[in-house]
């Protein structure tokens, strides 16, 4: 085996999107990838749950989508690059989803970003 033998300590609040996550989240990510096309975004908006079922999302993934819960999507195997396309449907930016995941207001999140430059 040529996988690293050194134990790599977890990084708090950080999820490595690896092969296991990619298998777990395949349906969810495939659905979000489809949102590159405007006609697919429109079909999703028309009947969200029907669109989720068409892509074979499991209960956990459908619940996370229904609740717009980004951390729950990540726990269900979502990759943020594809999830960003889902967020885009609702006009949410990476700052909006950053605020949601950290439990801050968007204003506080923006201030936190800026403060790291000082």
């Amino acid at each position: 085996m040529s996988v690293p033998t050194e134990v790599e300590l977890p990084i708090p609040g950080t999820y490595m999107f690896d092969g296991r996550a990619a298998m777990k989240g395949y349906a969810l990510n495939k659905m979000c990838y489809s949102f590159n096309k405007p006609e697919n975004r429109a079909e999703f908006v028309k009947d969200e749950d029907a669109y989720c079922r068409k892509y074979g999302l499991n209960d956990e993934q459908r619940k996370a989508i229904r609740e717009r819960n980004v951390l729950a999507m990540i726990h269900a195997g979502g990759c943020v690059y594809y999830l960003a396309k889902f967020a885009g449907i609702f006009g949410l930016t990476v700052q909006d989803i950053g605020a949601q995941q950290t439990g801050m207001t968007v204003e506080a999140f923006k201030e936190m970003l800026k403060a790291q430059g000082e």
């Binding site: 690293p4 790599e8 990084i11 708090p12 609040g13 950080t14 999820y15 490595m16 999107f17 690896d18 092969g19 990619a22 395949y26 990510n29 495939k30 979000c32 990838y33 949102f35 590159n36 096309k37 405007p38 975004r41 980004v70 951390l71 990540i74 990759c79 943020v80 690059y81 594809y82 999830l83 960003a84 396309k85 889902f86 967020a87 885009g88 449907i89 930016t93 990476v94 700052q95 989803i97 950053g98 995941q101 950290t102 999140f109 936190m112 970003l113 800026k114 790291q116 430059g117």
Partner: protein, 283 residues
Amino acid sequence: MARVIGGLTTSHIPAIGNAVPREKELVDDPYWKPFFAAYPPARTWLQKVKPDVAVVIYNDHGLNFFLDNLPTFAIGAAAEYRNSDEGWGIPTIPPFQGDPELSWHIIESLVHDEFDITSCQEMFVDHGFTVPMSLFWPNNSYGGIKTVPVCINTVQHPLPSPLRCFKFGQAIGRAIESYPKDLKVVVLGTGGMSHQLDGERAGFINKKFDLLCMDKIVNEPEVLTRYSIHELVRQAGAQGAEFILWLAMRGVLHPKVTKIHSSYHIAVSNTATGLLVLENSVA
């Protein structure tokens, strides 16, 4: 023979793609001023050196590639490249000219050099490619430049290590400089610097580490190739791992380079932005 005349790095945040068409009005906007003010010296250098070709090392964020087929290293070999809707309304801009003959020369040279890459005769390029091109060639004035897209996987782990990417860049450099046509080539490394979009650590930025990277990459890049991907994620954030694209760019250049210009700014969107212009030493 073709010559690599220098390299440029820049962040490629989608928000910049939306701001670029409005640069004239935003240049005095307090949020955008420190960002856009950094670019004129890079454009002046490009006008002076007049490259024929830009080799653009970037990452696809789910426009051209999905998890069904996800190459670690992919190279475009098309006559033309276009961008497309990425899901949130990034503007569609005029197509980019390719150089299939040079692309195939690089592909053949890389495989001969033990880098087993994926070749793409059709390929959409996303903001990782288009935002830097629009920044360096304002008003989409890139029409006279031929391009070779080089895409490195940063979506799904395992990602290629910093050392592997640096060596990959060195192999691209050897490929370009063995091309018989008399061309001037610049290489772009896009993405970075520290940022994290996902998880409870979203919004993480590491100024100290970014400044170390910007300093060492000039004439001691080997120091940075010792990091593992895991350590890079720890230091630069989940998406800060895009720094491997900068290291690949640096690999293309000669061991000694001259820094023409650099700039660092916190933050645009969730990201610390970095800009670097390096001129190659004469071989």
